[in-house]
């Protein structure tokens, strides 16, 4: 049964997309149930099997590895799949109201959303470098129209810029894969380390540099982040949430896979990790400062993503169990918190018609639940307790301290102070009262608005809960530590 479940993770959303293309409201609804609501149930048996037996491969078509394509499920992949199921699911629930099945907008929206889900699931499972290229392209081509669907000129411009850079990134990745295939004779990620051992080192280095550049560009890692803020800020709310929480993570995830699973240990790996750490530090500081300077809520959140992605690279040189747990936990908690923030921001934008910080006054009266979700998620982003973000930061700090990385430690602290500054700047703007004597006006919020606020709040609460229920997740992650970092 567990194989069927694994296959279903990719194929149910894919078939759902087909179903949603067909006309009629019923098809789309069925597609959403089949393709999205099923995911947690499919993930349960897969998770259990990984807990019981550890990571495993599935060979597609029965054609074994260097020739065929394999799927690989391990704790890291599981974490990402759960994020797709939960964050994607709640964002989809939020989107349900703005893109109702049966309406023209819904008809355009859902097939793409389902394809995006299938592509991300496929990407997290695939063990084949070229198949990953196809998945990356599918993610890009499904995600970008969703941005442009916001309709504004800014959104269209941002989508175009994103598309061009994403295509460039894919090509860099593809060129690297082409070189690797020829020098190693395989496209399988997990056969690569052995195959590369005999390959000429300059070729490997050049190919990995190309792959790395492509992925850094797709992952919007400073200084290649230029496309991200506008794209994430101008997309429709649930799309922003998924872009920031999941889509950019696909590139970071691949970076981990290639860097930590396929890269032969040695000088090259050390140099790459150091470079990543420097870029991560740059992202953390630059993104934090820029977030502090924005005057629109969604841009603040988008720049915060630029900054927070820095954490995901910063700790790579530590190469310890604690660092691994910290990275994966940051992946999770940032995803939850950021999605909550974007959904909340979308609700606020919807309710008051603007997301300029100067227009946000008295939000606690006007959109209380969304503001609360924003605040709770903000706690996680700042890395203050009790939240998943805090635990991730704690683990990072502890790993940095044990590793004697004082520079890293100070960057981490500076980054979190910056995060506190920009989050509290938003909250202060939202609590402001222009005129203290102003009468209270509990502005009518529609039932839909309330429900949408609930989804944001649920995500924020999940971010909060991850501040307590960390032990099982971290234990699972410990069994999935990259081979170059230690024995599982």
């Amino acid at each position: 049964m567990v194989h069927e479940a694994l296959i279903g993770l990719v194929f149910l959303p894919l078939l759902g997309a087909c179903l949603a293309v067909l006309p009629g409201r019923f098809g789309t609804r069925l597609a959403i149930v089949v393709g999205l609501a099923s995911l947690p149930f499919l993930l349960l048996p897969v998770t259990l099997s990984v807990l019981r037996e550890g990571a495993w491969f599935y060979t597609l078509g029965g054609w074994s590895a260097p020739l065929g394509i394999r799927l690989y499920v391990d704790p890291l992949a599981l974490l990402m799949l759960w994020m797709v199921a939960l964050i994607g699911g709640l964002a989809a629930a939020h989107a349900w109201h703005d893109f109702r099945p049966g309406t023209a907008a819904g008809e355009r929206f859902w097939p793409l959303w389902l394809l995006l889900t299938a592509a991300m699931n496929g990407l997290f499972l695939s063990a084949d470098l070229f198949n990953l290229y196809v998945c990356l392209e599918l993610v890009t081509l499904a995600a970008i129209p969703l941005i442009a669907m916001a309709g504004s000129a800014t959104a269209v411009r941002a989508a175009m810029r994103y598309l061009l850079l994403a295509l460039l990134a894919s090509l860099a990745y593809l060129l690297g894969v082409a070189l690797l295939y020829n020098s190693s004779g395989t496209l399988d990620l997990y056969l690569l380390p052995d195959a590369l051992a005999t390959a000429p080192a300059p070729v490997t280095a050049f190919a990995l540099a190309l792959i790395g550049t492509g992925l850094l560009l797709k992952g919007a890692v400073f200084p290649l982040h230029v496309w991200l803020p506008q794209a994430h800020a101008s997309a429709p709310g649930p799309v922003s949430a998924v872009l920031s929480a999941l889509v950019v993570k696909t590139a970071i995830y691949l970076l981990y896979r290639v860097g930590l699973w396929s890269l032969p240990a040695g000088l090259l790996a050390d140099g790459a990790m150091l470079l990543f750490a420097v870029l991560g530090a740059g992202a953390l500081i630059y993104g934090g400062v820029l977030a502090l300077l924005q005057d629109r809520l969604k841009l603040v959140i988008a720049y915060s993503t630029v900054a927070q992605l820095g954490y995901l690279l910063l700790a790579l040189p530590l190469a310890s169990l604690a660092a691994w747990q910290a990275l994966t936990y940051q992946m999770l908690s940032h995803g939850l918190a950021k999605a909550a923030m974007f959904l909340a921001a979308a609700n606020i934008l919807h309710a008051i018609g603007s997301d300029r910080l100067s227009d946000l006054e008295r939000l606690d009266q006007r959109t209380p639940l969304s503001l609360f979700a924003l605040a709770v998620a903000g706690v996680s982003i700042m890395g203050l307790p009790p939240s998943g973000g805090f635990l991730a930061k704690w683990l990072l700090l502890e790993a940095a301290w044990r590793g004697g990385q004082w520079g890293l430690l100070s960057v981490l602290i500076l980054g979190s102070l910056l995060a506190a500054a920009y989050v509290f700047r938003v909250l202060a703007a939202a609590l402001r009262r222009e005129d203290p004597s102003e009468a209270e006006d509990a502005e009518g919020i529609s039932a839909i608005g309330r429900r949408q606020a609930t989804y944001a709040m649920l995500l924020a609460l999940l971010a909060l809960v991850t501040g307590f229920a960390a032990a099982p997740i971290l234990e699972l992650m410990a069994t999935g530590i990259p081979p170059t970092w230690g024995a599982a």
């Binding site: 747990q325 008295r362 606690d364 009266q365 209380p368 609360f372 706690v379 203050l384 307790p385 009790p386 805090f390 635990l391 704690w394 683990l395 700090l397 502890e398 301290w401 044990r402 430690l409 602290i413 979190s416 102070l417 506190a420 509290f424 202060a428 609590l431 402001r432 009262r433 203290p436 102003e438 209270e440 509990a442 501040g467 307590f468 960390a470 032990a471 971290l474 234990e475």
Partner: protein, 497 residues
């Protein structure tokens, strides 16, 4: 994990969390429901605390442990120090809630206010019952978060400026604690709070590291405890409504800082080790300097609330002073001051709130003759002021006597000089107020001024004020009886005689 009887401290924390969430959920309009919830939450908490108090007297113990990170647990327990702080907080929260309901009647954003008010108390309870430094830190930071909306509650530019300053200080303080904590965890793991500390076995060879950790943690806690030179957020935060000021000063924030210092010396390092490393001297000097500095500045304030604020800066440092001086008597003095200062200072803040709400009085000069206009409040104020100065047999005297006697046994007679100077300064900034209240003529303008609030609301404010004044009074008068804070502190330290 055990969610039964043993986990009572968790439920104490949760009572306020649930209250807070329900209040948020109720929304602004449902005032009666909110009032009922507020009072019910406070009462239930108080009852739970009293149950725990009795159970601990009979030798029961409470502990809730939940693994959060590898090697790090969320640990809530209840020892005597916990109970000292928790009882104080629960008691004063109930009274402050009643006071705040009256105080904020008519004003906007009450749901938000009471929601965060409850979360704030939940965080305080967590601070009180934290069983290790990691848990302590979690609630310590939560307290920062929950208090900020209260500080900026009025939503004015001054409120936000104060809020920004508050955050800047407390978040940076939090970072210091965090770094110290990480260092400590890397060095020694996360030890539970045990009287005498857990670090003595590893002290050899790690002196420098331990000193570094101590300084980091001390400075981190010192921010909230308003130790010199980290105090300047406190007077600025006076822009908040009076119940918030009362809460900040008497119960939650500064006390959390002071409580952290107590835990640091008593239960993390242990006094012996701290002494051996020469760390207590540092804290003693810092605390002594703060005591004098705060008093001197209080003398120069013409705004009543600001004068009280600087008085707090000075008085809270007594706690650190007592614990850092280290003899049993001085420690008892410090611990009991935690309670005494709380009760006394909250009385004074309530009174200041009453003057402000009732007659719009903010400045010291305007107090002239108010004993005639607002007699009950003025009596309470006088009691509080005398208690602060340390007039026997009021609460402040008990503290100062123990501190002084303790300092002499500890071989630090200069502390007595500090106490004497402080007492004189206390008198110098409080007695003129009492003098103005009772012995200056009421100006005609003030006599003619209408009360700004309805009689019913005034009663809602004066009632709680009277209760806290009584508490402060009896804490001093009945200090010798079983169940008093002093008695409790003595049991904790062991009889000095």
């Amino acid at each position: 994990m055990n969610f039964g009887w043993q986990a009572l401290p968790v439920y104490v924390v949760l009572t306020s969390v649930v209250t807070g969430i329900l209040i948020f959920a109720l929304g602004e309009a449902r005032q009666r429901m909110r009032t009922a919830l507020n009072l019910a939450g406070a009462l239930v908490k108080l009852i739970l605390i009293l149950v725990m108090l009795l159970a601990i007297q009979t030798g029961a113990s409470f502990e809730f442990r939940m693994p959060v990170l590898p090697g790090l647990d969320l640990l809530l327990h209840a020892d005597r120090l916990t109970m000292l702080f928790a009882t104080l907080s629960a008691l004063l929260w109930l009274v402050t809630t009643v006071y705040a309901i009256g105080y904020l009647e008519q004003s906007p954003n009450r749901a938000r206010f009471f929601g965060f008010f409850s979360l704030c108390v939940a965080a305080t309870m967590g601070v009180a019952s934290a069983g290790n430094l990691f848990t302590f830190f979690i609630f310590y930071e939560l307290l920062t978060l929950a208090t900020w909306p209260l500080v900026v509650h009025r939503g004015t530019p001054e409120a936000f400026a104060a809020g920004r300053l508050y955050l800047t200080y407390t978040l940076i303080g939090g970072v210091l604690v965090l770094v110290g904590l990480i260092w400590l965890t890397a060095l020694a793991g996360s030890g539970d709070f045990i009287v005498g500390g857990t670090l003595a076995p590893i002290a050899a060879g790690n002196e420098a590291a331990l000193r570094g950790i101590f300084v980091l943690l001390m400075l981190g806690f010192g921010v909230k405890a308003a130790l010199l030179p980290l105090h300047s957020w406190l007077p600025r935060a006076m822009v908040a409504p009076a119940p918030v000021s009362a809460l900040l000063h008497a119960v939650a924030v500064v006390k959390a800082g002071a409580f952290g210092l107590v835990r640091l010396i008593q239960d993390v390092f242990g006094f012996e080790l701290a002494l051996a490393l020469g760390l207590t001297d540092l804290l003693t000097w810092l605390a002594a300097a703060t005591v004098i500095y705060g008093s001197v500045l209080a003398l120069r304030q013409s705004d009543l609330k600001r004068r009280l604020a600087f008085s707090t800066v000075s008085q809270v440092s007594y706690i650190a002073l007592g614990v850092a001086t280290g003899s049993a008597l001085a420690t008892i003095g410090g611990l009991v001051h935690l309670v005494h200062q709380g009760m006394t200072k909250i009385t004074l803040f309530f009174c200041a709130g009453n003057y402000a709400e009732g007659l719009g009085v903010h400045a010291v000069e305007e107090l002239d003759g108010l004993g005639q206009r607002m007699p009950v409040t003025s009596v309470c104020f006088t009691l509080g002021a005398l208690g602060m100065i340390g007039v026997p047999p009021l609460a402040g005297f008990i503290t100062k006597w123990h501190l002084g006697a303790g300092a002499i046994t500890a071989g630090a007679p200069w502390v007595v000089a500090v106490l004497a100077a402080s007492t004189l300064l206390n008198a110098a900034y409080f007695l003129p107020l009492v003098h103005r209240l009772w012995f200056r003529p009421l100006p005609a303008t003030m006599a003619a001024r209408e009360l700004g609030i309805s009689g019913r609301r005034l009663q809602a404010l004066v009632g709680p004020t009277m209760i806290v004044a009584m508490l402060a009074l009896f804490a001093g008068l009945l200090a010798g009886t079983p169940g008093s804070p002093l008695f409790w502190a003595q049991r904790m330290i062991g009889d000095p005689a």
